[in-house]
């Protein structure tokens, strides 16, 4: 674990410095004199050799200090503490819906091939890969907000006049529920509906596809056929199929979960969410070194964590994987 974390820190550090352009120049503005720029550089420590910069950064990180974002004027850590849960809330809800619909839909399709559900899921699986998520978001906004007036306006996570609830997890839905603030909770829900729906549609594609294929392979397998030959009861046959069908589905879920942390940026933009991906976008454009580093590190650590969970799931399901 530790060497990987160290590697991630180093790579984030180096990657950011590959960006051409000088953050000091960006910060100073167009009217700055060379002296101003030099002064900013000294303040940021950019005039030091790379190795010194890296160790300084590492030392600070270990103490919880990820530097400051010059663009937002906040410590990067506190920016991330707001942005990360915002996106996490979004993609987690979207993923939950996609998993439920996808796995159930895929299983039914596999159990009753060429049936009604199978036809729908296979058509959807084909189209899903061609859908631009930002367009779907706009489509949903047009239908449900502009025409039907059901959903809330796509301008962020809450109605403007409502205060954000006290920060327990950073996820407004959970926080408002925990503190019993029902008005905020309802507002959060109505603002979450459309972007979550958009993300579910996007995530449903690959999950459905993999569930269908994986379950079908399991059901067509020799050992499931043999279980039927032995007169095993239905519960046993289904369990046998699921045990081997699950790992590839879990893999795809993990891959997309990590991917969506940054990949949700387009949806975030459409709905004015103020999320993690958007933070990365603006930081890159503004050459906000510490912010970008913080983003890269958190994204990589998140992926690492997910893969760890996946490995544990594998070991539970497949005894061959146990050391």
């Amino acid at each position: 674990m530790i060497p990987q974390l160290l590697g991630i820190t180093l790579v984030a550090f180096l990657l950011v410095r590959l960006l051409p352009g000088n953050p000091a120049t960006a910060m100073a503005g167009s009217l700055a004199t060379p002296e101003t720029i030099a002064a900013i550089e000294a303040r940021l420590g950019l005039d030091q050799p790379l190795s010194t910069q890296f160790f300084m950064y590492l030392k600070n990180v270990l103490q919880g200090d990820f530097g400051n974002s010059w663009y937002t004027s906040n410590p990067v850590a506190s920016d991330l503490a707001v942005r990360f849960p915002a996106t996490l809330e979004l993609i987690s809800l979207g993923m939950i819906i996609a998993i439920i619909v996808g796995v159930i839909g895929g299983s039914i399709s596999a159990l009753k091939p060429k049936g009604f559900i199978d036809r729908i899921t296979s058509s959807f699986a084909t189209i899903a890969g061609a859908l631009p998520e930002f367009w779907i978001g706009l489509l949903l906004i047009y239908v449900f907000y502009v025409r039907l007036g059901i959903a809330a306006a796509p301008i962020g996570r809450l109605d403007i006049q409502l205060p954000t609830p006290p920060n327990v997890t950073g996820m407004i839905l959970i926080d408002s529920f925990l503190t019993g603030d029902m008005a905020v909770f309802r507002s959060a829900v109505s603002h979450l509906i459309l972007p979550v729906l958009t993300l579910s549609i996007v995530l449903l594609g690959p999950i459905l596809k993999m569930s269908r294929t994986s379950m079908r392979d399991a059901i067509d397998s020799d050992y499931v056929h043999y279980a039927r030959m032995c007169g095993m009861n239905k519960k046993c046959v289904v369990e046998y199929a699921f045990r081997t069908a699950l790992p590839p589905i879990v893999t795809i879920i993990a891959v997309y979960y990590g991917f969506m942390l940054g990949g949700a940026v387009l949806v975030e933009k459409v709905f004015g969410w103020g999320g993690f991906g958007q933070y990365a976008v603006q930081s890159v454009i503004n050459k906000d070194y510490f912010a970008v580093q913080g983003f890269l590190m958190l994204a990589a650590v998140f992926s690492l964590f997910i893969y760890l969970v996946v490995d544990i799931i594998y070991m539970i399901v497949d005894p061959r994987q146990r050391p």
């Binding site: 790579v11 990657l15 960006l19 051409p20 352009g21 084909t126 189209i127 890969g129 061609a130 859908l131 631009p132 998520e133 930002f134 367009w135 706009l138 489509l139 906004i141 047009y142 907000y145 502009v146 025409r147 306006a153 796509p154 294929t213 020799d222 990590g258 991917f259 942390l261 940054g262 990949g263 940026v265 387009l266 933009k269 459409v270 991906g277 990365a280 976008v281 890159v284 454009i285 970008v292 983003f295 890269l296 994204a299 990589a300 992926s303």
Partner: protein, 300 residues
């Protein structure tokens, strides 16, 4: 019992008189029996035609902004309506394949070629250079690709060729992995050993014996990837990190339309979006069809 079913899948079509048929004829029969593939093919061809003849077919100049006709709903004069700047959406939508498809095709082609070469190299030779390439490819895939793409375009400047290079660069690992695993599984086969025994140089063996077998799976992957490339290009342009501003590109058009959709002006976002879906779908259908054509045992 299982034997008969498996043989059934592998049997290729034989016409009534039992004579062997050419690949071309098999392709034509395939087109007839697989309507979704044929539809995809039609879409792809239509897009390619637009790519070439788009400017001629456009009723208005796709780059011309006419302030007198801003934000008009679809009508006889402007089939798809006009946008915020007074540009005719229909003309821009049918001009856009020139941009989107060029980027997608060229980008995919570059990543295909480089990916195949690198994949072949890392699969066949086991040295430090091989390992380095693999590690870099792994690293590339660890970071969120969209943000990475955006960063690279922001950094290199918003020009069409940069978008091409970025898309090519990000997709190389896909082909590298594909070809590499194919080469690895094949290199231990007897026919390769035989070729080496007879004194063939490794490079020659790679190109003449191994790669031809791998090409078909790489090509079908490429066809599916072109759809993704179109989506990525439009996504980048939507967020402002893709093609430069007045260029008629589907994603950029949606961005322009996004600001007015709240007021009910659906046409400036919807039509370009539909165009993206149709184009990407076409390539995806062709890709799936090719996969089945080249390897009937893999029907999904």
């Amino acid at each position: 019992m299982r034997g008969i079913i498996d043989m059934e899948r592998l049997k290729t079509t034989v016409p009534g008189n039992g004579a062997p048929i050419t690949e071309w004829k098999r392709f034509l029969i395939f087109m007839r029996t697989h309507p979704s593939f044929t539809i995809g093919l039609v879409i792809v061809l239509a897009n390619l035609l637009l790519m070439i003849f788009g400017p001629i077919l456009a009723p208005y100049d796709p780059f011309e902004a006419n302030p007198a006709v801003v934000r008009q709903a679809p009508s006889a004069a402007h089939i798809f309506g006009t946008d915020l700047n007074g540009m005719d959406i229909f003309s821009r939508v049918i001009y856009a394949p020139r941009i989107d498809l060029t980027i997608a095709l060229v980008g995919t082609a570059i990543s295909l070629v480089i990916g195949i070469l690198l994949g072949g190299y890392t699969g066949f030779w086991d040295n430090w250079f091989s390992t380095l390439i693999e590690r870099v490819a792994d690293l590339l895939q660890a970071f969120p690709p969209f943000v990475l793409a955006m960063a690279l375009v922001a950094v290199t400047g918003q020009k069409i060729q940069n978008v091409i290079y970025v898309i090519a660069f990000l997709n190389i690992p896909i082909y590298l992995r594909l070809v590499r695993s194919n080469v690895i599984s094949v290199r231990n086969c007897t026919y390769v050993e035989a070729a080496i025994c007879v004194g063939g140089s490794k490079t020659r063996i790679l190109f003449r014996h191994i790669l031809p077998n791998v090409i078909s799976s790489a090509l079908t992957q490429a066809s599916i990837n072109i759809g993704w490339a179109i989506l990525m290009t439009s996504g980048l342009s939507f967020i402002g990190a893709g093609v430069p501003v007045p260029t008629p590109e589907w994603g950029a058009m949606i961005a322009v339309g996004a600001s007015t959709i709240i007021m009910g002006e659906w046409w400036s976002s919807m039509f370009p979006g539909l165009a993206i879906v149709i184009a990407a779908l076409g390539f995806a259908l062709v890709g799936d069809g090719l996969q089945v054509f080249f390897d009937p045992t893999k029907r999904s």
